[in-house]
Amino acid sequence: MAIDPARVGAIALRQFYLFRGSITRTVPLFVWVAIDIVLWGFITRYLNTVTSAGFDFVPVLLGAVLLWDFFQRVMQGVTMAFFEDVWSRNFLNLFASPLTIGEYVTGLVLTSVITSAVGLVVMIVLAGVIFGLSFLSYGAALGAFVFVLFLFGIALGITACAIVLRFGPSAEWFIWPIPGILSPFAGVFYPVATLPRWMQAIAFLLPPSHVFEGLRALVTGGTVAADRLAIALALSIVCVLVASWVFRRVYRRAVRTGLIARYSAETLS
């Protein structure tokens, strides 16, 4: 079914209204990522002073932190926009309108693009100005890294929405730890080869692991393997498709069982 840009825009506009009138929504867009960049910036500086000369931790660790934070911002951009409807008990008004599921999810994604872009810009400026991290050093591969992490963030965000729609608002607490659970497998701070074999197998299926392996290869003077990037991109696309399918299935079940019509904090079916 065709996507109506006006209805997609309405979802994004609603989020804009909420951000415009609320300091509690706007500040978290950049405060947490700023804290992360400052914290890890100083850690990398310290590591540069205590390890052998010649190796620069800034592009490896700080670059990884920046990209991982970006991924989390993308995921949270989707889930936070969804939670606004959960908290305001707006599902009945939304889904009794001509809005389609495709338009709703696209609107959530558009919202996430805007909010995560704000976080990304803040991180790039801070990392560049304070710690001298130059994104030009990553070359053209940076675009691919960001795109893969963006897609994977969208996929996890949509999956998180499906979980909350299925199990009720209290399932929100399942959502926040997801990036933390994935990070050991994604090899954000260390090569995937460091992991035991079973973890490496899981890591291979996670698009971010290929991004961070590529990042490390790049800053240590190597090149990013095109086939790894292709695998990461393919995996990300598959994740988005699967997540969209799962959300649609959960929505249909919610319509069948009446969950949409009586969605509340007590729902946990």
Binding site: L13, L18, L92, N93, F95, A96, P98, V255, A261
Partner: protein, 245 residues
């Protein structure tokens, strides 16, 4: 001309029958009251017509469009207000109307919002967040949203439940005028039998998920040996078997 056609809808929750073989129609400009005691299946029926609850069996046509096959187009011609579905309290009145106006594809939205704010005496609350409005004001905002797209079918689930009698009377008059002028079919639930008798052209009494009685609210009580619609309602609620033919 029929704007809503419900044919044999049925809703099962596990082994429990919530709505059982319900069929009825609503014509253009007609206001039909859907009455019944708590748990009779009124809200379940409305939720199925709104497309947020899938019937186990049966079909629903809105303005000749099958709801399942043409959900988007059918819902674009529908709107609703319900006491249990307030608009988001963290948006202002104007923001809510703009947001829902965009969802319903309303043309000349700015003008439409201005007109509705005026019609529902909400101009002074234009930039007030809905969450801080009184329940009566919130009801007026919900009704303004329900009329944004000039729906062919309007579903009102206890629309005046939180209003004082004077405001309720004004709103009934407004809704009546809207239904007549725009040839909108209205399905109206209420527990206020005086209101139902005043505003509805026809009523359907639901009991235990089935339509028990149907007719003109002004003549129906006498047809069943009751003085008032409220007496008839009480009988439907307590002794439905005595009314089954």
């Amino acid at each position: 001309m029929v704007v809503l056609s419900v044919t044999g809808i049925r809703k099962l929750y596990g082994g429990t029958v919530a709505v059982d073989d319900v069929s009825f129609q609503v014509g253009r400009g007609e206001i039909v009251g859907l009455l019944g005691p708590n748990g009779a299946g009124k809200t379940t029926t409305i939720n199925m017509i709104l497309g947020v609850l899938a019937p186990t069996a049966g079909s629903i046509r809105i303005d000749s469009l099958d709801l399942e096959a043409h959900r988007r187009d059918a819902l674009a011609r529908t709107n609703f207000a319900a006491v249990y579905a307030p608009l988001p309290g963290n948006l202002t009145v104007a923001q809510n109307l703009r947001f829902f106006g965009m969802l319903y594809g309303v043309r000349h939205l700015g003008e439409r919002i201005d007109a509705l704010l005026s019609d529902f005496a909400l101009t002074g609350f234009r930039d007030t967040k809905c969450g801080v409005l009184s329940s009566g004001e919130q009801t007026r905002v919900a009704l303004a949203k329900a009329m944004l797209n000039r729906p062919r079918l309007l579903l009102l689930d206890e629309p005046t439940a939180s209003l004082d009698p004077a405001t309720a009377r004004e709103l009934r008059t407004s809704i009546r005028a809207f239904a007549v002028s725009s040839a909108t079919g209205v399905l109206w639930t209420s527990h206020n039998m005086y209101e139902v008798a005043d505003v509805c052209d026809r009523v359907l009494f639901l009991s235990r998920g089935r339509i028990l009685l149907e007719g003109n609210p002004k003549t129906l009580p006498a047809e069943h040996g009751k003085e008032t619609l409220e007496d008839l309602f009480v009988t439907v609620a307590r002794e439905p078997l005595t009314l089954q033919s």
